[in-house]
């Protein structure tokens, strides 16, 4: 029977796998830092996952090539494919968390579903989670979530920043009264995040909020946009991801909705979201927390050191895309936290626990960013025991279809702390009571 070959083959694979895994040699002496990277280069959201993963990987490759690692410790970047699927994400987490001398140092789960899985696990395994601008918003409260970091901005900062931008265009917050804002959102935990904030802000400013959910994966939006055409909202906000964004931008342009009144959040504002709509997408806005483009010294250095040596994770011409830059800045902050952790410990033999200390002491100033080759790329970040998300400042970028690139049109938009801070506290306390957590004392 042919099956015997198959069984033999599988058995050989099963036997060979652990043997080969242990035989991977590490350079003697140098401490090895294991940094898992949960990526999704396959599945429905791959177009967004690939550039992010490339940016994340390229920065570590650069450090390895240029400096031989971080402070003399070599970097072992372990990519694990999740396909944006929660169960595969859990498998990846369990598979990578104990690897190497250091164990996993920090996780970027890159999905709201996986983040919610890992939040309780992280505190038990003592590995910090860095959910940059996603995941559970109330994790910004370091007293209740000691192991979770979601700087530089949360979804609620983004929502508030988008409202503030709209207010500025309308000529002041008082002019928002009587206006209508429609929220087109992915009907999942991710998409529902901003609703509470937008509702609170609606009470405060007197605008009407219309909620328009779009089911996964988001190709079917005809009805949504018919509704928008009938409703004639003054602004449309979008919390979309993957194919949903492209469809929304196309539909908006086909009903001739004014693109400069259509604002996506930072997962709805990259090149592949707007390109399919062609000219129609011109003027589409999106919130973000870092600049687009490859005109920074760090990008040039990556092109020279990594891509010229054929060690790049992706295609050369895609360096500098919005999501590439997001992966890059995620890696930069991660490395800064690792450096800080080494500094605090006075040794480069750190573990996840030390990286958490490093994250809580993280202070990346504008001077430091310039030193790293990213001048005016993003905002300075300063964290502490209680503050796990800072500064929350939002940029707005606009798509220029003729030039084929994003341009920053507004910077320094501060979110409405008055509204957000109590919301975060309330949600964090609700989590604490639900899970019998006594908030830490942060003094």
């Amino acid at each position: 029977m042919k099956l015997t070959y198959l069984t033999a083959g599988l058995a050989a694979l099963a036997v060979a796998a652990p043997v080969a895994a242990t035989s991977v040699a590490t350079p003697a002496g140098a401490y090895e830092l294991t940094i898992p990277s949960l990526v999704y280069r396959t599945g429905p959201y791959a177009p967004g996952g690939i550039p992010f993963a490339n940016g994340y990987a390229d920065y570590f490759t650069l450090l390895q090539e240029r400096d031989g690692g971080i402070n003399g410790a070599t970097i072992n970047l372990v990519e694990c494919e999740t396909a944006y699927n929660t169960q595969q994400g859990v498998e990846c987490y369990e598979n990578t968390k104990g690897q190497g001398e250091s164990g996993a140092l920090v996780y970027q789960p890159l999905s709201t579903g996986i983040t919610y899985q890992l939040i309780p696990k992280a505190s038990v395994d003592e590995i910090p989670l860095f959910t940059m601008g996603y995941g559970r918003t109330s994790a910004a409260d370091g007293k209740v979530f000691p192991w979770v970091f979601n700087f530089p901005s949360t979804y609620w900062d983004a929502a508030s920043g988008m409202v503030n931008y709209a207010a500025a265009i309308e000529g002041g917050a008082e002019n928002l009264s009587g206006k209508t804002i429609a929220l087109v959102y992915h009907n999942s935990a991710y998409g529902k995040e901003p609703i509470r904030t937008l509702e609170k802000l609606a009470e405060k400013h007197g605008y009407t909020l219309e909620l328009l959910p779009v089911d996964h994966p988001g190709q079917e939006q005809k009805a949504t946009w018919l509704q928008i055409r009938r409703m004639q909202p003054d602004w449309v906000f979008m919390w979309g991801w993957g194919v949903m964004n492209q469809v929304a931008v196309k539909e908006a342009s086909s009903i001739r909705f004014p693109m400069d009144r259509f604002v996506g959040n930072w997962w709805a504002g990259s090149e592949h979201d707007v390109q399919p709509a062609g000219e129609g997408a011109n003027g589409y806005l999106s919130a973000t927390f870092h600049a687009p483009g490859a005109d920074f010294p760090l990008h040039q250095e990556i092109l020279k050191t990594v891509y010229d040596a054929n060690k790049g994770a992706g295609e050369r011409e895609r360096v500098g895309e919005v999501l590439y830059n997001r992966g890059l800045i995620a890696a930069v902050w991660t490395v800064e936290a690792i450096r800080k952790a080494m500094e605090i410990k006075g040794s480069n033999e750190i573990t996840g626990k030390d990286v958490r200390e490093g994250l809580e002491a993280l202070n990346v100033t504008e001077e430091r960013l310039a030193e790293l080759g990213l001048p005016n790329f993003t905002y300075p970040v300063e964290l502490s025991c209680a503050v796990h998300s800072d500064p929350g400042t939002v940029l707005i970028q606009q798509w220029d279809a003729a030039a084929g690139n994003w341009k920053v049109v507004a910077t320094g938009i501060e979110p409405d702390r008055e509204v957000i801070t109590p919301l975060i506290e309330a949600d964090a306390m609700a989590y604490a009571t639900e899970n019998n957590i006594t908030p830490r004392d942060c003094n």
Binding site: L3, L6, V39, R41, T42, E94, A189
Partner: protein, 358 residues
């Protein structure tokens, strides 16, 4: 030589009707059960429990449930994901509304609630069959996921619509929540699966199971010999949903801990469990487990083999894995359309005649 029944005489009706008539089978099964209960809990670690064994046990339970409906009663269902969601949300509501309730009862009650919902969606099976029924149950899948996403009561009006399992204890050990030890979770799921697999085996061997199979094989003839289609079909839906609901409950509370309905209980899950049943073998209890093992373990094995063993890029490995899984499914269904269980049966028959086949 080793595997034959010569010299084994049955001296009572009980012995004659045993589940495993051949002594060697019994020994192997007892040894396997003893290993699973007495050895594995002591060696299991986080990775084995959370990435391999728990999904295996839970999907085994779901496949068992679906096999009762599809394999034994011939009613095609594509609503498994939705029914698992019912089990999960029922557990969540029970766990949050009655914090003192023992987890055993939470899982059983979740199964019961799912059984009620499942029988309701089983009502169309009295009028429609085959593909038409598949479409009706598909509607259940979409409706249930939509419902749990839409109505805030089901997720206690949490901001994101996610449900999170609070910590619950079992004999002084944390069973759910982050502090739960892997062996506690493993033993809990294993006990449920072992007990309910035994119940299922006896159900399908008894009067109820024979009724189901009569309806499956030819419903009109079955009706003529006195099988009541209403009760039979609905009982199949109820029992099947009971198992599927328990699987959903365990998946949410013990394994994942936090669930988002659209992602975890989407249509993919319905297909996955249906594939498990088809590949494992329709109308076979052991086939359900083989199918679950095939679809849960093989991707992980392939992934680990290719990424750690051969040093492939994770993304390439993923593409190859999808390709290989597809090929293997096609291959198995061509070699043996009746599933892995039938291959196992053929192997046993050959063994009994070895070394003198005819």
């Amino acid at each position: 030589m080793l595997y034959r029944e010569a010299g084994q005489f049955k001296t009572s009706y009980t012995a004659d009707q045993g589940i495993f008539p051949i002594a060697q089978d019994r020994w192997v099964v007892w040894a396997f059960v003893a290993f699973a209960f007495l050895v594995v809990p002591f060696v299991v670690n986080d990775y084995w429990a959370n990435a391999i064994l728990l999904p295996l046990l839970i999907y085994g339970m779901a496949a068992l449930g679906l096999n009762i409906l599809v394999g034994y009663c011939g009613q095609i269902s594509l609503g498994t994901g939705g029914f698992m969601a019912v089990g999960a949300y029922a557990s969540y509501k029970l766990m949050t509304a009655f914090p003192e309730m023992n987890m055993i009862f939470v899982v059983l009650l979740s199964g019961g609630i799912t059984a009620a919902v499942g029988s309701m969606f089983g009502l169309p099976s009295l009028r429609i069959k085959g593909f038409y029924l598949a479409v009706a149950t598909l509607a259940a899948q979409f409706f249930l996921v939509w419902l749990f996403n839409k109505v805030g009561w089901f997720y206690n009006y949490s901001a994101t619509g996610q449900i999170t399992a609070p910590e619950r204890m079992m004999f002084g050990y944390a069973l759910t929540g982050p502090a739960a030890e892997p062996w506690v979770k493993y033993l809990f799921c294993l006990t449920f699966l072992a007990v309910f697999a035994l119940i299922a085996k006896n159900l399908v061997r008894g009067r109820i199971g024979r009724n189901w199979m009569a309806i499956r094989d030819m419903d009109i003839a079955a009706e003529l010999i006195g099988v009541r289609p209403l009760m039979t079909k609905l009982s199949a839906f109820a029992v099947s949903s009971f198992y599927v609901g328990m699987a959903g409950s365990l998946l949410f509370s013990v394994y994942l801990g936090a669930v988002e309905v659209g992602e975890v209980f989407g249509i993919n899950v319905s297909f996955l469990v249906l594939f498990m049943v088809i590949i494992g073998g329709l109308g076979s209890i052991v086939g359900s487990f083989m199918g679950a093992a095939f679809l849960v373990l093989l991707p992980i094995l392939l992934k680990n083999g290719m990424v750690d063993g051969l040093g492939m890029m994770p993304v390439t490995a993923k593409h190859v894995e999808i390709l290989l899984m597809g090929l293997l499914i096609i291959f198995f269904l061509i070699v043996e359309p009746h599933g892995l269980a039938r291959l196992w049966q053929i192997a046993k028959e050959k063994l009994r005649m070895w070394p003198f086949p005819y």
